[in-house]
């Protein structure tokens, strides 16, 4: 597994934070209020702590990151958080049609996941200068032990060397979905290359 020196680690954390702040901005758009991110939990390891959610209907949204920096991201909502999001996002027109509103239950979550994961991917892609994009997301209802097992299966494989997670926070309501990302060594190598490019530029001036 690759390692980062102090400077590279700092750069990696800055890039990740920038991406996650962008995601919080997108989520704020949907929630119609300010959403922030909690402290960033960033690790270069193949172990990841399971998101702190309870109940049998944890909503797990998965987006595979495709292209030059492969990875996977998970957006995790409790059932209450998922319902809260649906309630806020569903427009008056759609609320008037119970049939349509019911059809939209999963579609809303999938679209929110699509947009906020893409916000992060866009930041990474622009900063690291790599072509990456999120595939069509999927939604599964899981319990905490399923969630733990699924995350371990993906993060335990050699393929994923870097992981980070954060919690979105809203001041007015109890709403704190978790966002978990796993990447492989290519992400670390990209950060190293970026730091080297910046160092070369500094030397020129």
């Amino acid at each position: 597994m690759e390692n980062l020196d102090q400077n590279e680690l700092l750069t990696a954390k800055k890039i990740v934070k920038k991406g996650l702040l962008k995601a919080a901005e997108s989520l704020s758009f949907f929630m119609k209020e300010k959403v922030d991110i909690n402290e960033l939990d960033f690790h270069i390891s193949d172990h990841i702590a399971c998101p702190d959610k309870t109940g049998d209907n944890i909503h797990l949204l998965t987006t595979e990151v495709m292209g030059e920096l492969p990875g996977v991201c998970y957006l995790v909502f409790s059932e209450e958080e998922a319902d809260r999001l649906r309630e806020v996002v569903l427009s008056a027109e759609l609320r008037d049609s119970p049939e349509l509103a019911n059809e939209m239950k999963d579609a809303i979550l999938l679209e929110v996941d699509n947009i906020i994961s893409a916000s992060v991917i866009t930041e990474f892609s622009n900063i690291l200068n790599h072509r990456i994009y999120g595939n069509v997301p999927t939604l599964k209802l899981v319990n905490p032990s399923d969630l733990d097992r699924m995350l371990k299966e993906r993060s335990g494989a050699d393929f994923f060397a870097i992981n980070f997670r954060t919690q979105f926070l809203s001041s007015n309501i109890n709403f704190s979905p978790e966002f978990v990302w796993l990447f492989d060594n290519n992400f670390l190598n990209s950060v190293k290359q970026l730091v080297r490019r910046e160092e070369s530029l500094m030397q020129m001036f």
Binding site: S26, F29, F30, S91, E93, L94, L100, E103, M104, A107, I108, L110, E111, N114, I115, S117, A118, S119, I121, T122, S125, N126, R131, I132, Y133, G134, N135, V136
Partner: protein
């Protein structure tokens, strides 16, 4: 009223775009497609004045659909509507024949303004 075809795999997005355009009173929705193949088929059949096109569809990328449609000499204005916002991808879509590129999320007002400005 201008005829619009919506190509997006997300039911929620199709519905949201449709509601916003109908509410404006300036656009008529002539078709909806949830994947690339269906999008190409409907675009060629319906010849809409405007196509709103997602960039990541289950069966193909929006940019490849645009290339295909332009190869067929379809003259519809195409606005990409996507969460994918990388500079390089936006440029590639425009080079391939997209007339505009709108990054999600956006308000209904912005959507209508961008469609109004497609000339």
């Amino acid at each position: 009223m201008k005829k619009v075809l919506i190509v997006d795999d997300s039911l929620f997005m199709r519905q949201s775009i449709k509601n916003a355009l109908l509410k404006s009173g300036k656009y008529e929705i002539v078709g909806e497609a949830g994947n690339g193949d269906q999008g190409i088929e409907l675009a060629l059949e319906l010849q809409p004045e405007i196509i709103t096109m997602d960039n990541i569809l289950p069966d193909m990328l929006g940019v490849d659909i645009i290339k295909e449609l332009r190869k067929e000499e379809l003259s519809s204005k195409i606005i990409m509507i996507s969460a994918v916002g990388q500079d390089s991808i936006i440029e590639e879509c425009k080079r391939s024949g997209a007339n505009d590129y709108l990054v999600k999320p956006f308000s209904n007002e912005v959507l209508i303004e961008r469609l109004d400005n497609l000339n």
